[in-house]
């Protein structure tokens, strides 16, 4: 292949004709962590690449730090993605850069215990820490992920750190993917300084320099297959204002199709295409790290709306033996996100909203899929609408109740005046004696605030073709030139924020793709 290809470009959907087509070596669906690194690796290997992105292209001057703009513009379903019963709000990126544009920068390698679980129970035989090591190292270098920085700890995270330290729960500093961070606190709305190292400013930029084109506002609708091979991706060109299809882009793929639309959209695309779904497992075992927030009120202002959203984590409860584990972090406290999390309405809700600056928000992320819980299921209806069912397994409810108790202990140890659960009938906790009441409160769908910022599974990797969708290098078991390089390949949830793991796995997989298609 020639090494002197001219640079590619970002092609806004608005500039495409209603019936457009192109032909490349690889069609890549999605421009987040997985798609961008695949685009960079394959471009560097000399391949011609087109990236198809459903969302729009926004840069730092667009990021106005207003929730009213950011969530509709930058998130899936305009910020309204949820499970089908609305019990779990799903925060998931949808823009050039995907989740990396809006994530809170927390960077973890895949926990060793999770890799062991996959090897022992999920048929993932040749994917150990040593295999992944060079790919983590490369991604960490490209994303400027350094050691955790104590100066990043804002008051919201300081309380988590102090409380955990007092109780002997070993708080750790979180490594962050930033360079020149001004600690504004708006990672979730797009960094107005480009200080966050997103896929758009790193791997996708590399891919474009190497010749890749990125088509924005194009929603992959179908994969065309023929005799066991993926031939093309058919995408709807979306009108930005209405978000309705106004045309069609067909990307013919000479060598292969690479899916990186994330753990909800990728299984949905396969299901919609009736492509490679014979095993019956596509879309099943979808994991969310269901996230339980707990708010505490302090005498002094916390101002959880400012400063790096996450800088401290606590993994003390990640391994609870036979019971579902969880880890603790914080969530930023902006007016809209805060108002959505707090139950009730009218003046009762207002009295809580008025205390916003004094709120500390700790979150427990439940490590789903490591025990007897099977997670959720992605399906599509006849119109192609995505449906995500996620029943709250009893083992997760037990973990949630346990987590609420321990978060309350932590917040009280850190000096909170009072702690309030986010049940529809909140429980106010002022002492250890109050915590017992948490176990008596029903924990049911829409009876307690839950959200997810981490979507995983649905197209698990493994060697058993009956239980997995792709092999341990991302290649589809039945479509020989289709690969998946996003969080959907994880057989369980990770037990840590997934983005860096997605970069590293995608880099390993993309390297294998380049090798296999030389």
């Amino acid at each position: 292949m020639s090494g002197a290809r001219s640079a590619g470009r970002i092609v806004p959907g608005a500039q495409l004709d209603n019936m457009s087509a192109t032909e490349v070596d690889f069609a890549i669906v999605g421009s987040g962590a997985g798609g961008s690194v695949a685009a960079a690796v394959l471009t560097a290997a000399g391949a011609q690449v087109a990236v198809i992105e459903e969302g729009g292209h926004y840069t730092k001057s667009d990021f106005n730090m207003q929730e009213a703009w950011a969530y509709p513009a930058l998130y899936q379903e305009h910020g309204n993605r949820t499970t089908d019963d609305l019990a779990i709000m799903i925060l998931q990126g949808r823009n050039v850069g995907g989740g990396t544009t809006v994530n809170w920068t927390s960077s973890f390698r895949t926990p060793a215990a999770t890799l062991r679980l996959w090897a022992e129970r999920h048929g993932v035989a040749d994917l150990d820490a040593a295999t992944l090591e060079p790919h983590f190292a490369a991604a960490e270098a490209r994303l400027d992920i350094g050691p955790g920085n104590p100066d990043d700890v804002n008051a919201n995270n300081r309380k988590l750190q102090d409380g955990a330290a007092k109780l002997g729960w070993r708080p750790e500093l979180i490594r962050r993917s930033v360079k020149g961070c001004a600690r504004l606190g708006y990672c979730g709305m797009g960094c107005p300084l480009d200080a966050k190292r997103t896929s758009r400013t790193t791997y996708l930029a590399d891919a474009i320099v190497g010749g890749a084109d990125v088509y924005t506002d194009c929603r992959a609708r179908l994969i065309e297959t023929d005799r066991g091979r993926a031939r093309a991706v058919v995408a709807d060109i979306l009108d930005r204002a209405s978000d309705r299809p106004r045309g069609r882009l067909v990307v013919h793929a000479r060598k292969g199709v690479v899916l990186a639309g994330g753990a909800i959209n990728t299984p949905a695309l396969l299901l919609r295409s009736h492509a490679g779904t014979d095993s019956g497992v596509v879309g099943k075992r979808t994991f969310l790290h269901p996230t339980v927030p707990l708010v505490a009120f302090y005498e002094q202002p916390i101002e959880g709306f400012y400063g790096p959203p996450q800088s401290v984590s606590v993994h003390h409860f990640a391994d609870r033996g036979a019971r579902v584990g969880y880890f603790l972090e914080t969530a930023p406290v902006h007016p809209m996100l805060g108002a959505l999390a707090v139950p009730g309405f009218g003046d009762a809700h207002r009295r809580l909203a008025e205390r916003l600056p004094f709120v500390q928000a700790t979150i427990a992320l439940l490590i789903d899929g490591h025990h007897d819980d099977d997670g959720g299921e992605v399906s599509v209806n006849a119109d192609g609408r995505i449906r995500l069912r996620y029943p709250l397994h009893a083992s997760l409810r037990e973990a949630a109740v346990d987590a609420i108790g321990n978060m309350a202990r932590l917040q009280l140890a850190a000096g909170a005046r009072e702690v309030m659960t986010l049940h529809e009938t909140p429980i106010v906790i002022r002492s250890e004696a109050d915590i017992a009441r948490v176990a008596d409160a029903p924990f049911v769908a829409n009876g307690h605030t839950l959200f997810s910022a981490h979507q995983m599974g649905g197209c698990p990797m493994g060697h058993d073709r009956r239980r997995s969708v792709v092999d341990t290098r991302g290649r589809h078991h039945h479509l020989e030139n289709l690969w998946i390089v996003d969080g959907s390949v994880f057989p369980t949830s990770l037990g840590a924020n997934p983005q860096l793991s997605i970069y590293a796995h995608a880099r390993l997989f993309a390297t294998a793709i380049a090798e296999a298609t030389k």
Partner: protein, 181 residues
């Protein structure tokens, strides 16, 4: 109610698609009190549906005890903002939400759930609050889901408005420092 019957209803409602029940209430919007005209052209909702949403929003945001410095849902055009947002989500989701508004307006359902026989838009504020409470605390998942849809969309429109920032002690986004490239 027996467990099997409860299960049947739950499965029937949720399994048949969110709020499919609303299809059986075709006349619910005939008696809707329209209230003030929308502040902008509607993109998805009918005038009646907009009126139901606006009436619910008025109760969901801070009201009676809040004092005059808090803007009303109408002043911030919460219903219009939700309409504009819903016009961009999947058509199925928009259809579900319109069905929800029809159910919510229904005096028949109001009678059943909260002894409130009038259309929601014609009920007293106290009755409206009781109706919202009944949905919020319902034993049926689909009812709680419906309440959450109304609550979240309204609160998202309201609390993301800069006019509300001073009321919740939020100074707003900081000035972005100029850093050398």
């Amino acid at each position: 109610m027996s467990t099997s019957r409860r299960k049947f209803i739950k499965r029937g409602l949720v399994g048949g698609g969110l709020l499919a029940l609303a299809g059986s209430l075709p006349f619910a919007l005939r008696t809707t009190l329209l209230g003030r005209a929308p502040r902008r052209p509607l993109r998805l909702l009918t005038l009646e549906e907009h009126a139901v949403l606006a009436a619910a929003a008025a109760r969901l945001v801070p009201g009676d005890g809040a004092g005059p410095s808090w803007p009303s849902a109408e002043a911030l055009d919460c219903a219009g903002k939700v309409d504009a947002l819903l016009a961009t989500v999947h058509p199925d989701a928009g259809r579900d939400f319109r069905r929800l508004l029809r159910l919510f307006e229904s005096g028949l359902l109001g009678t059943f759930m909260a002894a409130s026989p009038r259309p929601f838009t014609r009920a007293t504020p106290a009755e409206q609050d009781a109706r919202l409470e009944a949905w919020r605390r319902s034993r049926l998942t689909v009812m709680r889901s419906g309440y959450q849809a109304l609550k979240r969309l309204t609160h998202a429109a309201y609390y993301s408005s800069p006019e509300v920032y001073p009321r919740v002690g939020y100074p707003g986004p900081p000035v972005v420092p100029q850093v050398p490239a």
